[in-house]
């Protein structure tokens, strides 16, 4: 039984790690990337009356953070459901 469930749990874990890598790259990009490293570059555009790089460092990054967590929660629930369904008939 253990040998049967193991590959499945590995697949689940790997899918989770891929998702983490994707979401954490976005997390890094919008805060450190847009708000700090390339701030001056992004400041050439503006959103309303605010330079874009500055806006990301004080507003935009926070909005993206909120979306990232809800997205992770949604995608993980879907992933768990998929693996639970696939797992049942085998056992």
């Amino acid at each position: 039984m253990k040998t049967e469930t193991k590959p499945k749990s590995d697949l689940y874990w790997r899918a989770n790690l891929r998702l983490l890598a994707l979401l954490l790259s976005i997390w890094f990009l919008v805060s450190f990337g847009f708000g700090i490293f390339w701030r001056d570059f992004f400041d050439q555009w503006s959103i309303g009356g605010a330079p874009l790089g500055f806006w990301f460092s004080q507003q935009g990054s926070i909005y993206v953070f909120v979306i990232l967590i809800f997205a992770y929660s949604f995608l993980m629930n879907r992933l768990e459901k998929r693996f639970a369904q696939e797992g049942e008939p085998k056992q």
Binding site: W13, P51, Q58, I62, F70
Partner: protein
């Protein structure tokens, strides 16, 4: 007693009765209820409680003021104190909830099969929590003294009494439901004046839109940036910090946030692993309400301050007169004017001839008066500040009490301790912790203001690396964890103590390691911790099979 004080007393008494009522209703009967509220808190409500737990007196009273004076540099707090929730939700909370025990040292002690690691974790948790809690108690006293003109000491004691009620009686269960009430009070108290000042300065009721909007026909931020340059202040949109220091501080605050034990344990209180994930989303959404409003309030308040105060005539009664609120707040010592050139005008600028001294907290505290709002709004800000400070203090108290009664007494010293006796120990520990915190609030060691960097730096350098490696690797072992935590904390502490206490005069960018200030040095401590765990674990015996099985279990869905 004036109108404002009558309103303030009413709000304070009303909100405090509510907190006590909740405490009596939510008495804890078992250790499970005392430590993790019986793991029955719905995710949305846990999100509110986490938001109140997290947003302290500093977030509520001081943050907007700091941003108002440092402009772009203030972004480190905005990104740092919110971005940490992404790390928490993705890397820590779901797995720690799956682990299913009561405290952070619980996880570290079990995962690294070592009571030594457990005790090191307990010491870190207690130290981090005490540095933080002293500031909260002080915050309670300061709100009382500024709004109600009673002694700071008496204010601290009233705060102690209230926290005593719901933390000792209700434990996590009592704390959770009071924090939910406190969140509602504090967010309402923050948003109402913010909306009015946004209307006043930018003609839009939504502060987040006001920040990117216009004032008097030109973009608000451009105008503010121009004014600060003209008057010789740090330019609002430019800031002074170097790129490496901005990066280090932001990352240290993010990782520190994710590693703070009083935040982590909030995710032990929800029923399921999936609840822990969504709950972190709700928490950050509620936090973002305040954190995206703060930079807007900062910009409005600074612009308004410069425009109405600079060049105004103190004794005049026409439109050139110094605003009335300036004179009111002069009495509190938060504002002062020294007419250096004897022209009767307030000269406010960045040079040595500046005549106006401003305490940064004024930007939030005086907002209602600046916007000409009725006395009940001023009173609301007082109640909000108290709610922010009390809710954070209670969460920290629980960490201290559970570290002592559960991790130290039950898991290390007296393994046969019954549930009832453990609960009694937890309550006694909470009482001792409240008295100690109150003492620190009344007799603040001179360094309280400077040790915030400590709490985050230590959390970043101690807990975060060993928890993450404990979940995401199977080979990290007990010697790695023990030396990793000690090495990370040892380095971070030495660096902060060196520049903050031993040689404060040398605390300058040219002396810093790689240009990283003591505020951001937790990042280097974290890397040292990571490196030590990875290297030492490879050189010593791998974890036993039952620990490997535990890691595999933590990684799997329910």
């Amino acid at each position: 007693m004036n109108d404002i004080q009558i309103w303030t007393w009413s709000f304070v008494i009303l909100s405090f009765s509510l907190y006590i009522g909740i405490a009596v209703w939510a008495r804890a009967a078992t250790t499970g209820e005392f430590y993790v509220a019986g793991q029955g808190v719905p995710p949305l409500l846990n999100g509110m409680a986490t938001a109140a737990d997290w947003m302290s007196a500093a977030s509520f009273i001081s943050m907007a003021g700091i941003i108002a004076f440092v402009g772009y540099d203030g972004s480190v707090y905005l990104m740092g104190w919110t971005g940490g929730y992404v790390l928490l939700a993705l890397l820590l909370a779901p797995y720690l909830r799956k682990f299913g025990k009561f405290t952070v040292p619980d996880f570290i002690g079990d995962r690294y099969y070592s009571n030594l690691a457990r005790v090191v974790a307990v010491i870190c948790a207690i130290f981090i929590s005490f540095t933080y809690i002293a500031g909260q108690m002080r915050g309670v006293g300061i709100v009382f003294s500024r709004f109600l003109e009673i002694d700071v000491e008496l204010g601290v004691m009233i705060g102690m009494l209230i926290v005593f009620f719901y933390a000792v009686l209700g434990g996590m269960k009592g704390i959770t439901y009071t924090q939910i009430a406190q969140f509602c009070v504090l967010i309402f108290a923050y948003l109402v004046p913010a909306i009015f000042i946004s209307l006043m300065v930018t003609n839009t009721p939504i502060p987040q839109l006001g920040l990117i909007g216009n004032t008097g026909g030109e973009p608000l931020l451009a105008k503010l940036d121009g004014l600060t340059r003209e008057l010789g202040f740090t330019p609002y949109l430019a800031g002074k910090k170097s790129m490496i220091d901005m990066t280090a501080i932001t990352l240290a605050l993010m990782v520190g946030t994710a590693g703070l034990p009083h935040v982590i344990i909030r995710f032990f209180t929800v029923p399921k692993v999936s609840d822990a994930r969504i709950s972190a989303g709700w928490a950050l959404l509620f936090i973002a309400l305040l954190y995206t409003t703060a930079p807007a309030v900062a910009a409005f308040a600074r612009l308004n301050f410069i425009e109405t105060v600079n060049g105004s005539v103190y004794e005049a009664s026409d439109e050139t007169a110094t605003p009335e609120w300036f004179k009111t707040w002069e009495n509190t010592g938060l504002l002062s004017w020294d007419d250096k050139n004897n022209d009767g005008k307030l000269d406010y600028h960045g040079g040595p001839q500046n005549e106006v001294n401003v305490n940064r907290d004024i930007m939030v505290l005086a907002n209602p008066e600046i916007a000409n709002l009725p006395p009940w709004v001023v009173a609301l800000v007082a109640a909000g500040g108290l709610a922010a400070a009390l809710s954070t203090a209670a969460g920290l108290l629980l960490v201290i009490s559970s570290s002592i009664s559960h991790d130290l007494a039950k898991r290390v010293l007296f393994k046969g301790l019954s549930d009832q006796n453990e609960l009694l120990t937890a309550r006694l520990a909470a009482i001792v912790a409240i008295v100690a915190a109150g003492y620190l609030g009344i007799n603040p060691p001179g360094f309280v203001a400077q040790v915030v960097a400590f709490a985050f730096g230590l959390a970043a350098a101690s807990f975060f690396p060993v928890i993450v490696l404990g979940i995401f690797t199977k080979f990290a072992n007990k010697w790695g964890a023990v030396f990793g935590m000690l090495g990370g904390i040892g380095f971070t502490m030495s660096y902060i103590i060196w520049f903050k206490f031993i040689h404060p005069e040398a605390n300058l960018p040219e002396n810093w390691l790689w240009g990283i200030s003591p505020e951001g040095i937790g990042v280097v401590g974290m890397m040292i911790n990571f490196a030590l765990v990875l290297v030492i674990s490879r050189l010593t015996a791998p974890p036993p099979p039952n620990v490997i099985a535990m890691i595999e279990d933590v990684r799997q869905p329910e």
